[in-house]
């Protein structure tokens, strides 16, 4: 191979640079809490926090398909509690502070879901 030294060094630098976010992330120093405010009157969400944090969008998608297409409008959570399937009327019932809950985390994670072009945020309708 021509210029083996330079090429290999170049590749190594490239790989290190590309994976840099992971290494920096592992040190854990830059972790900042998003500072979201949890609902005050309710302690338990539909499922446990870890699941909700990671999977809430997938759950919502599944809820949508079950409710709209199969007419399964009730969700029986793993703890046996029954929930009526509705983003607007069940989820937002407790999570009524959009700015302090949904938006803070979405902005911190640079995700911009457009749920709210249709679903009405509590208190938004004046």
């Amino acid at each position: 191979m021509y210029n083996a030294k330079t090429v290999i060094t170049g590749i190594i630098i490239f790989i290190v640079l590309c994976t840099a976010p992971f290494w920096v992330g592992l040190t854990g120093k830059n972790y900042k809490s998003t500072g979201i405010v949890l609902p005050k009157d309710e302690k338990n969400c539909v499922e446990n926090v870890k699941f909700m944090r990671a999977e809430h969008m997938r759950l919502l998608n599944e809820w949508r398909d079950e409710a709209l297409r199969k007419e399964n409008r009730t969700y029986i959570a793993s703890d046996g509690k029954k929930w009526s399937i509705s983003l607007q009327n069940t989820c937002l019932n407790c999570h009524s502070d959009y700015k302090e809950f949904c938006e803070k985390c979405h902005v911190a994670n640079s995700v911009y879901p457009y749920c709210w072009t249709c679903h009405i945020i509590p208190g938004e309708s004046k």
């Binding site: 007419e71 029986i76 959570a77 072009t117 009405i120 004046k126």
Partner: protein, 260 residues
């Protein structure tokens, strides 16, 4: 050497292509459940094999008689009021000639000719809109309702070309600027720009054990029930009255019946 490199590149390119194809297929394959819980029907939701509507048009004296029904529907579902030809209609009125164009004759009884007739989605047994939709954004539910999933609609408007009743509306413009009430109904979403919408037979109200909003507002002049149940209110009304449907010759089997 040169040839080897060429064939290596070819093989490498093909493998990358195949691999990425495989990766692309994964999201389709992982349709497994996300939720750890179970799904079930609503407790107090009434069920039917095929929901249908019967309109006692004789019992309405004029267009103003239908007004509360339209208001009830449009408020309930946040149906915008957009001026012009790019408007949205869920429940609206038209003349006999335009509602039943195949049934028109020049000497039709003046009262029937001059009357207004309520129009809405017919929730056909054999709906052309469902047939043509390329994403299953519109589909038929088990109880005969032609439903819409606005999340999935790409706005191709094939269903609007397909519907022979003009029951479908497209959001040409942001509907939130044209909502009918100062405060939108907080329990029902609005729609967004670029999707098609229509009457849903109030499937969300049915799920909560309520009858459709227009039926409720009609004070008994519109019946709603199971067409497959011989003892249902709609079947009894159809058995004892002369009824017509819109454009029956197209084979769509509308679920909205008019008693003239």
């Amino acid at each position: 050497m040169n040839k080897n490199r060429r064939s290596f590149l070819k093989a490498a390119g093909l493998s990358v292509f195949a691999l990425s194809g495989g990766l692309a297929a994964v999201p389709g394959a992982t349709q497994a459940r996300t939720a750890p819980g179970r799904y079930d029907r609503g407790d107090n939701a009434p069920h039917a094999k095929r929901w249908a509507m019967v309109m006692y048009t004789r019992k309405f004296t004029g267009p103003e008689d239908y007004e509360p029904l339209i208001v009830a529907c449009h408020k309930e579902h946040n149906v915008p009021n957009i001026p012009g030809a790019q408007n949205i209609k869920w429940f609206w009125l038209d003349s006999y000639e335009h509602t039943f164009p195949d049934d028109m004759n020049a000497y039709l009884n003046e009262k029937i000719r001059a009357a207004s007739y309520p129009l809405l989605c017919n929730h056909c047994t054999n709906p052309p809109c469902v047939r043509v939709c390329p994403t299953q954004a519109t589909y038929k539910t088990e109880d005969g309702i032609v439903a819409m999933d606005y999340h999935r609609c790409i706005g191709c408007r094939f269903c609007m070309a397909g519907c022979p009743y003009g029951a479908r509306s497209f959001n040409f413009i942001d509907p939130r600027k044209f909502l009918p009430a100062a405060t939108p109904n907080p329990v029902f979403p609005t729609r967004m720009i670029g999707v098609v919408e229509k009457c849903t037979f109030c499937s969300e109200r049915l799920a909560a054990g309520k009858i459709p909003a227009c039926v409720e507002a009609s004070k008994g002049r519109i019946l709603f029930g199971d067409l497959e149940d011989a003892s249902s209110n709609v079947r009894l009304a159809l058995a004892s009255n002369f009824s017509i449907r819109r454009k029956p010759s197209l084979g769509t089997q509308p679920g909205v019946y008019y008693l003239i």
